[in-house]
């Protein structure tokens, strides 16, 4: 048996580049973006210029031709500076671009995938509704084919849709019911009549990430805006959700590892009762536990990425990585705030922002409960 834990020298070199970029272009502004609820288009374009939006896609579409682990490393490094920019990247790639890569016609790839890969435009994926999220079978948004004009007429709404209302959002791919037991993916271009993007949500965290409710009211799109095969919408989004969970886990890993670094630095620097607080076991052991959790999460995330690269089944591995990494990220941010004491509760500190930003990781792209359900079912349990 051969076990290889070292990323390649090129992956490590790219990690250093993305870390440089994140520290230079994102970290100095992240607190202000968070405070002002700004979606920084220029920073998103800069990520595009660096090639981050095209990493896991082939070069023929302008992509980086990178393996999935390299993409995860990029998300991890961006997340160390700012969770909002990391989710913008993750959603742009895994939810916006990936459906076009997997299911798009050549024409759709040229029109949508290529500019998404360049980071010039963003795509969004509209699955969740007020009464349908992980229970996608309950989807109420309907698309009816108007034979006379060869158009889909879409009615319904979608909630919590990331990247759906930015000034560079090109389209939203939605799941819609096209027959009683049929879910189909349909591409709705931004600005289409009858497609209303509601004002952004006021969120607990991820303030610089763009999230909206979308309303479709007699919205008409051409018949050829179906993405993939009619009726196979379920299949497509299950695939992109599995992939996306690994990427979300990488995001959680980045946040947790940044908390570990910030905590250790603070514990060494902060003086109390005549010495650094890191000399107290109550603080030092928190850091030690955090280090174990970060290491475990990294192993789960990288292994899941590796499995995917090998073309092996990833459903359970992705669920484990997402479940574990998101829960330890919430733990790590909480303990990091505790270690920072009062300063950890001040808006400007990284750990305070991360504390607010981490909670959604246990909810988005499948709650922790859904991950446990996937795992329990994988174990053969008759769990409901």
């Amino acid at each position: 048996m051969i076990v290889e834990f070292d990323p390649t020298p090129e992956q490590e070199q790219f990690r250093a580049v993305v870390r440089d970029f994140a520290e230079g272009e994102i970290a100095p502004n992240a607190a202000a973006w968070d405070r002002d609820h700004v979606f920084p288009v220029d920073a998103v374009r800069a990520m595009g210029k660096l090639g981050l939006f095209g990493l896991p896609f082939p070069e023929e579409y302008g992509g980086g031709g990178a393996d999935y682990l390299t993409y995860c490393i990029a998300i991890e490094e961006i997340a160390r500076a700012d969770a909002s920019m990391a989710i913008t990247l993750e959603a742009g790639v895994s939810l916006g671009a990936a459906p076009f890569f997997y299911s798009g016609t050549e024409e759709q790839k040229q029109e949508y995938l290529v500019p998404m890969i360049a980071g010039e435009v963003l795509g969004a994926f509209g699955l969740t509704e007020a009464e349908a999220g992980s229970d996608a079978g309950a989807t109420r948004t309907r698309a009816t084919l108007d034979e006379s004009t060869s158009e889909w007429v879409i009615d319904g709404q979608k909630t919590f849709i990331t990247n759906s209302g930015t000034e560079i959002t090109k389209c939203v791919t939605i799941t819609a019911r096209t027959a009683p037991n049929e879910i189909t993916n349909i591409v709705v271009d931004s600005g289409t009549t009858g497609f209303v993007v509601q004002p952004p949500y006021r969120k607990m965290g991820w303030h610089a990430s763009d999230t909206h409710e979308l309303v479709f009211d007699g919205c008409r799109v051409p018949e050829d805006h179906v993405l993939g095969v009619r009726g196979e919408g379920f299949k497509t989004f299950l695939r992109i959700l599995d992939d996306g969970r690994i990427a979300i886990a990488a995001l959680a890993l980045g946040m947790a590892s940044a908390c570990l670094d910030a905590s250790v630095a603070y514990a060494n620097q902060r003086q109390a009762f005549g010495g650094p607080i890191g000399r107290y076991q109550s603080i030092a052991f928190k850091c030690a536990d955090m280090a174990v959790a970060v290491e475990n999460a990294r192993n789960l995330v990288y292994k899941a990425a590796w499995l995917r690269e090998q073309g092996r089944p990833i459903r359970e591995a992705a669920a484990m990585a997402k479940l574990y990494a998101s829960e330890i990220a919430v733990d790590a941010t909480r303990e990091a705030v505790q270690i920072h004491g009062g300063y950890g509760y001040i808006d400007e500190t990284l750990v305070s922002r991360f504390y607010r930003d981490a909670k959604i990781l246990e909810i988005g792209e499948g709650t922790s409960e859904i991950q446990r359900l996937i795992l329990a079912r994988g174990l053969g349990l008759p769990v409901e």
Binding site: E10, F14, V17, L50, G64, T70
Partner: protein
């Protein structure tokens, strides 16, 4: 248009450095691209791009066949590199270094322009570019904040204390560029992968036709006698503001001849 860029690979400034017993910087660990050289690399890539053809060649002298820093510059887009690595080069002073770089530039052949940083981030002599120019018999333009090629000449804005001078020279020439001449790009993943297969010509001093007596400790005209800690910064002068604070500040500034 072929541009050569002198790039130095240095110990990571983020890691505390240490001195060897001979008073030189310990360079045995991993070395990285000197950030001040990334500006020259970017400038070279842009000049070649603007010229519509040609390539960028990196020139570096480093111990232990170190290529980490070269890989970064190759990932940015340079086509190839010449690396001079030879135990005989240990202890080289600025002039010996310039000899090695000048010979390497001749080895590269067909170079129209050489770019270098104004000074390295670890040695700070700031003399090497002009020395290389002298050894090659080429014009050397220094402290350039803007570089362009026009009518077969290189035209630069030479940074001065008050502004800049416009200076031009015939080609081939060597130009040292300041940080800020252009904004260096971040290497892309594609660039990093491509860099793996770009040629690095590893040579010794002898390959360049340099005798061991001309370089390293043997050829150095300079000797490091001792190294001492820089004196700690003196505490400033404190004034209690008794209503004359502004006048005292003005008087202080006048004494410094800044107002």
């Amino acid at each position: 248009m072929n541009v050569a860029v002198c790039v130095k690979q240095i110990p990571d400034p983020a890691v505390p450095g240490s001195l060897s017993s001979d008073h030189t910087l310990d360079r045995s660990g991993k070395l990285i691209l000197d950030e001040s050289d990334s500006y020259g690399v970017e400038m070279a890539l842009q000049l070649v791009d603007a010229a519509g053809g040609g390539e960028v060649t990196l020139i570096s002298m480093a111990p232990n066949d170190e290529v980490s820093g070269l890989r970064t510059a190759l990932a940015m887009g340079a086509a190839k590199a010449i690396l001079v690595s030879d135990p005989a080069l240990a202890g080289s002073d600025a002039l010996s270094t310039a000899k090695v770089l000048a010979k390497s530039i001749e080895r590269a052949g067909d170079i129209d322009l050489v770019l270098a940083a104004t000074e390295s981030s670890d040695g700070y002599t700031g003399t090497v570019p002009a020395q290389v120019g002298e050894l090659l018999g080429w014009p050397a333009l220094t402290f350039s904040r803007h570089v362009e090629i026009a009518d077969g000449k290189v035209k630069v804005q030479r940074q001065t204390e008050a502004g800049y001078d416009e200076v031009e020279a015939s080609l081939p020439a060597i130009v040292s560029v300041t940080a800020g001449v252009v904004e260096p790009r971040y290497p892309s993943f594609k660039g990093i992968m491509a860099a793996k297969n770009k040629p690095v010509d590893k040579v010794t001093a002898a390959d360049l036709g340099l005798d061991a007596s001309q370089v390293g400790w043997a050829g150095a005209r300079q000797e490091i006698v001792n190294v001492e800690q820089a004196p700690a910064r003196q505490a400033g002068e404190k004034f209690e503001d008794d209503g004359t604070g502004a006048e005292k500040i003005v008087a202080f500034l006048e004494q410094l001849k800044v107002v």
